[in-house]
């Protein structure tokens, strides 16, 4: 998984870590069943506080994206699957748009104008 944090950003660090994990699930880098690194290891690699990572993991658990179990660590939950499927839909949509001569940028602009 790829985690990016920007110390200059106004966004809290734990939120940035959680957003990175979310993006990893969305791009298929993390799939249901994958185990996240131990919070201590991730904190060490990112050179941030352990509690920041724990808070990010808790937020992801509250969103239902990961399961936190004592002894087993953090595992991407089965309920994250729809999010991963969305990445397939996006890839398909981008490919379809490309075949029609639309660039991803144009497609993104169209999506922004679409109401959910």
């Amino acid at each position: 998984m790829l985690i990016r944090i920007d110390a200059d950003s106004a966004r809290p660090l734990f939120d940035q870590v959680a957003a990175s994990v979310r993006a990893d699930i969305l791009t298929g880098r993390l799939t249901p069943g994958d185990r996240l690194p131990a919070a201590r290891e991730l904190a060490d690699a990112l050179e941030i506080n352990l509690h920041t990572v724990l808070r990010a993991y808790q937020q992801l658990r509250d969103e239902g994206l990961i399961d936190l179990r004592r002894g087993r660590g953090a595992v991407v939950s089965a309920s994250a699957a729809p999010l991963a499927e969305l990445s397939h839909d996006i890839a398909a949509l981008v490919a379809r748009a490309a075949s029609l001569g639309l660039s991803p940028t144009t497609l993104a602009a169209l999506i922004k104008e679409t109401d959910a």
């Binding site: 998984m1 790829l2 990016r4 920007d6 880098r29 185990r35 690194p37 690699a45 050179e47």
Partner: protein, 339 residues
């Protein structure tokens, strides 16, 4: 198949199959011609005090043809047909090379082994020709250095009789572009990789055999069983500690570490020249699985076929670790190396 590879495979047929089998058959004919003069039972094993193991008259001939021929055929099978082994997952899409440095080595070893066994069979038969009792057979210790020289000499000759064909299992890919990062942005990439299912089965069987052997020896009260048990213990620790590795790419550089904490390897960002994602064929490029040193000098943890991260150090050494999503890892390392 390119002309070079076709030439290499033809050379293998001669060096690794035809000549070794011819040597075995020649030696077999000599032994066969002497058979009526050999005592029955014949000596088939020599200890420090001369012949100490005996078997039927035809046993040396059977060992020569069965064991020698078996080794030659097994090596030929691996060298010439390993590319037809079915591959699963990501690796299925990679074309398997029809030739490898490993195959060249197998051909050379085949020739050396067959030559050594041929000389051994002739020497042991000659030592007991015309004797009434095989126990009187002369000591064959003086032959040991000769056997060693024959084996090494033929293996070296076999190596150089085959052409050196550079094998590139995959077309070289360009080094990864650095991951775009803002001024104060940090990126960490992590992934774990586990030995392929096939490898796990092979390792499991190997461990089981050694454990079963030591249990058997100890149950029979043979002291040597303790040595086997110690070997089994070391093997279990080694296997258990190198089944799963965690790979980490960050601003600090690359870190590959077994879940057991050892073995581990770290390459600081300052020592990284470039990083890229490649496709690895374990057998053709590294001759197997585990911590490997490739024929081209690359080394690293090769746990399965397919996607791998390759890191070139500033001093020219190249490290490889098989891991998924290696492209992202390479871009993180490229960014770390640039800073």
């Amino acid at each position: 198949m390119t002309p070079e590879i076709r030439r290499a495979r033809t050379a293998f047929w001669w060096v690794g199959v035809i000549i070794p089998l011819a040597l075995l058959v020649l030696a077999g004919l000599v032994v066969l011609a002497w058979l009526p003069e050999v005592p029955d039972p014949a000596a088939i094993h020599w200890g420090p005090d001369g012949a100490d193991g005996f078997g039927p008259r035809w046993a040396p001939l059977a060992i020569l043809m069965g064991l020698g021929g078996g080794i030659v055929l097994l090596f030929a099978l691996i060298a010439l047909f390993s590319h037809r082994l079915p591959q699963r997952g990501d690796a299925a899409s990679i074309p398997q090379p029809h030739w490898s440095t490993t195959a060249r080595l197998l051909g050379a070893v085949s020739l050396g082994t067959a030559g050594m066994m041929a000389v051994l069979a002739v020497a042991t038969t000659a030592a007991q020709r015309g004797l009434a009792d095989a126990a009187d057979a002369a000591d064959i210790t003086p032959w040991m250095p000769v056997l060693l020289v024959v084996m090494i000499g033929l293996a070296v000759a076999g190596w150089f009789l085959q052409p050196a064909v550079p094998v590139s299992a995959s077309s070289p890919t360009a080094p990864a572009a650095p991951l775009p990062l803002a001024d104060h942005e940090r990126a960490v990439w992590m992934k774990s990789v586990t030995v392929a299912r096939g490898g796990q089965i092979v390792l499991g069987i190997a461990v089981f055999i050694v454990v079963a052997l030591s249990v058997l020896l100890l149950a029979q009260g043979i002291a040597g069983g303790w040595i086997t048990a110690a070997v089994a213990l070391v093997l279990i620790v080694l296997v258990a500690s190198s089944l799963t590795f965690r790979v980490r790419a960050s601003a600090a550089g690359l870190r590959v570490r077994s879940t057991a904490g050892w073995p581990r390897l770290e390459i600081p960002a300052a020592e990284i020249a470039s990083a890229r994602a490649i496709q690895v064929n374990p057998f053709a490029e590294f001759g197997g699985w585990g911590y490997r040193i490739g024929a081209d000098g690359r080394r690293g943890f090769v746990l399965r076929a397919g996607e791998a991260l390759e890191v070139a150090r500033a001093d020219g050494r190249v490290f490889v670790v098989t891991v998924d999503d290696a492209t992202t890892a390479a871009s993180v390392l490229a960014a770390a190396a640039r800073d």
